[in-house]
């Protein structure tokens, strides 16, 4: 099955460019630039050098034997579990893979000012980092609620020289930060590049960010073949906007025997309204420039998403995921806040790896994925980021319990 967009920027009926006219020419320019430079050997060489020497790639694929033992005990299924260690990237998550590519492109477009939105702050930190490296002014839009719960990342961005705008509009989370970033971009489009952080937004972002993150999947593919002599039976990744999942999935899309599982945030449960399971509970719509699944009411008003992890707290999702969902190529599950927190502690205690709460959602779904696989199957889980940023949230949930 091919996942090549049917029309430029389309994944089946999803994707496209649903933006105000002012931005259309900038998106056409960006698309042409990406098509040109992503094939340009000098650009690729420079990008590969940055990924190696600055981001720290390739990231390891770590076998998680004690986690596999745990699954065998609880689930009665003997798996080989591998962790793709994006938590070991510089800045602590996969977000930097995308930022280095976009900053190189912005340079070639002559854009001297950089803006970005951020949810958990990981993309904001990654953007502020590359802006520091290239000496570019950087402004980050972040929902006021997220500024509160990710205050350490706000300080990191400021330390790196970025200006952080706290967005109080709407639900004061990631979607509102994106609205405000779009307003900035539409005002300053001639001088400014918008480093969108996920595989959502108008074309070319879903394609471009997906290609920049595909390094995760291509490394993992080679690494697991070298570790086990074959392809994995399943890949597992959390999905908010969906960039780390898309990055991993792209390594295996054409291998139909490899099952792909995305894990959304079920928040307080899918039976409540407090979740962020866009693919599980949403419907096709248009948000932030792309046609994709959204969480909204019958009138088309976007719903407030909820997740303990700020990075998954988004009522939209990348259009390629919507396409993979409809075609059945990928399967989408959901994990609750509590399951993610428990999985975070489980991975910490089994493997000495504290995942970001976003990534913990993928770990949380391992048991359910194991039930669908035969004994001896191998699974790759994308540990998209490290959990240091979440210590405040985690401590609050577990309270004194964490020391027991």
């Amino acid at each position: 099955m091919s996942t090549v967009p049917h029309a430029p920027g389309r994944f089946g009926p999803y994707g496209g460019r649903y933006v105000s006219e002012t931005l259309m020419p900038a998106l056409e320019e960006l698309t042409a630039a990406w098509e040109h430079f992503s094939r340009d050997p000098t650009f690729r060489t420079e990008l590969d050098r940055l990924l190696r020497d600055y981001v720290g790639r390739p990231t390891p694929l770590t076998e998680a034997a004690r986690l596999a033992d745990h699954v065998a005990r609880v689930q009665g299924r003997r798996l080989r579990v591998f962790l793709k260690r994006e938590d070991l990237c510089h800045t602590g998550s996969h977000k930097l893979n995308n930022c280095v590519g976009q900053i190189l492109l912005a340079q070639r477009l002559g854009k001297k000012r950089i803006i970005a939105e951020t949810g958990a702050g990981q993309h904001g930190v990654a953007t502020a980092t590359v802006c520091a490296l290239f000496g570019l002014p950087c402004e980050i839009y972040m929902g006021a609620v997220d500024v509160e719960r990710q205050s350490l990342n706000v300080f990191r961005m400021q330390l790196l020289g970025a200006r952080v705008h706290s967005v109080k509009d709407g639900t004061a989370t990631l979607k509102d930060a994106m609205n405000e970033a779009m307003r900035d971009w539409v005002t300053n489009v001639s001088t400014t590049h918008y480093v969108l952080g996920t595989v959502a937004g108008p074309h070319p972002y879903p394609t471009m960010v997906g290609e920049l993150q595909s390094v995760i999947g291509s490394e993992a593919r080679a690494q697991i073949q070298s570790a086990t002599g074959r392809l994995p039976d399943a890949c597992l990744a959390c999905v908010g906007g969906g960039s780390n999942a898309m990055g991993l999935f792209r390594g295996f899309l054409n291998d139909s025997q490899v099952r792909l599982f995305g894990v959304e945030a079920a928040g307080e449960g899918l039976h409540t309204t407090h979740h962020a399971a866009t693919l599980g509970k949403g419907r096709p719509g248009v948000l932030h420039g792309t046609r994709s699944y959204v969480l909204c009411d019958d009138d088309g008003q976007i719903a407030e998403a909820h997740s303990v992890s700020a990075g998954l707290d988004y009522p939209g999702v990348g259009p390629e995921h919507s396409y993979l969902r409809d075609t059945g190529r990928a399967e989408y599950l959901a994990a609750t806040d509590q399951e993610a927190l428990d999985a975070c502690r489980l991975l910490a205690r089994c493997e000495g790896i504290i995942p970001a709460l976003e990534s913990a959602h993928a770990v949380a779904a391992l048991g359910r994925v194991a039930e669908r696989l035969p004994d001896g199957a191998s699974v790759i889980i994308n540990v998209s980021g490290r959990g240091d940023k979440d210590m405040g949230t985690i401590a609050k949930y577990f309270g004194a319990e964490v020391s027991s």
Partner: protein, 279 residues
Amino acid sequence: MTNAPADGAPLTSRIAGAFAKARSQGRKALVLYLTGCDPDFDTSRRLLLAAARAGADVLELGVPWSDPSADGPAIQAAMRRALAVGGGMGAALDLCRAVRADNPDVPVVFFGYANPIFVRGTAKFAAQAKQAGADGVLCVDWPPDEDPELAQALLQEGLDLVPLIAPTSTPERVKAIAAVAGGFLYYVSLTGITGSQLPNLDEAAARVRQVRDLSSGRLPVAVGFGIATPADARAVAGFADGVVVGSAAVRVIERAVGAGRDPVPALEAFVDDLRRALG
């Protein structure tokens, strides 16, 4: 190409008629934007009718949406107020129907975002808008060349698709957009959000001339974004066929409501001032 009229509909649309009437009176058309259901359904109905009475030639009925990423603070706040009292696409359709019941002549253009149209179903929305007495639709984040579904649905119902044209639009884009447009072309005076500061007008004047050339003068060109005062309106009327005022009108309502007054007289006076400025 003009939109084919539905059976029995007048050959000239209400929008074309309104611009023609202004022209015949030797003045430029006043297009007034109000957010539907701000501050509530019935006051909003009275405000729309009062605006028409005071001289607005075309009404833009803003459809409140949760994520208005092309709008500035004034209209964002209006949408929040409207959503809090049940505003949205459903209420906007009812509002249009209520306005039409009392005023058979004033053209009404729905001004909104893609998701409420998309979720309702594009064809169903177009039919309901037509049935409610609307004349056209301006969808901020649905470029007609990107996805023809909306343009086709509106054409089917004989509704005008009013497009935005921006300072950044290339000549190719202006041509492509104008080809599927009806009613009027809305030239955005600046690269920015609604309610921004009005820029130097020389560039806007030159661009409006260019837009007319590229569209062979088939449709009138109205200019909006940043026009806040009668003086601004007069300046823009020097080169445009119509002047769009939105955020400033919304602020007049906000101030009156905030002071505990009925906003209708304040808006009526504001529209009257604008209309006088246009000659």
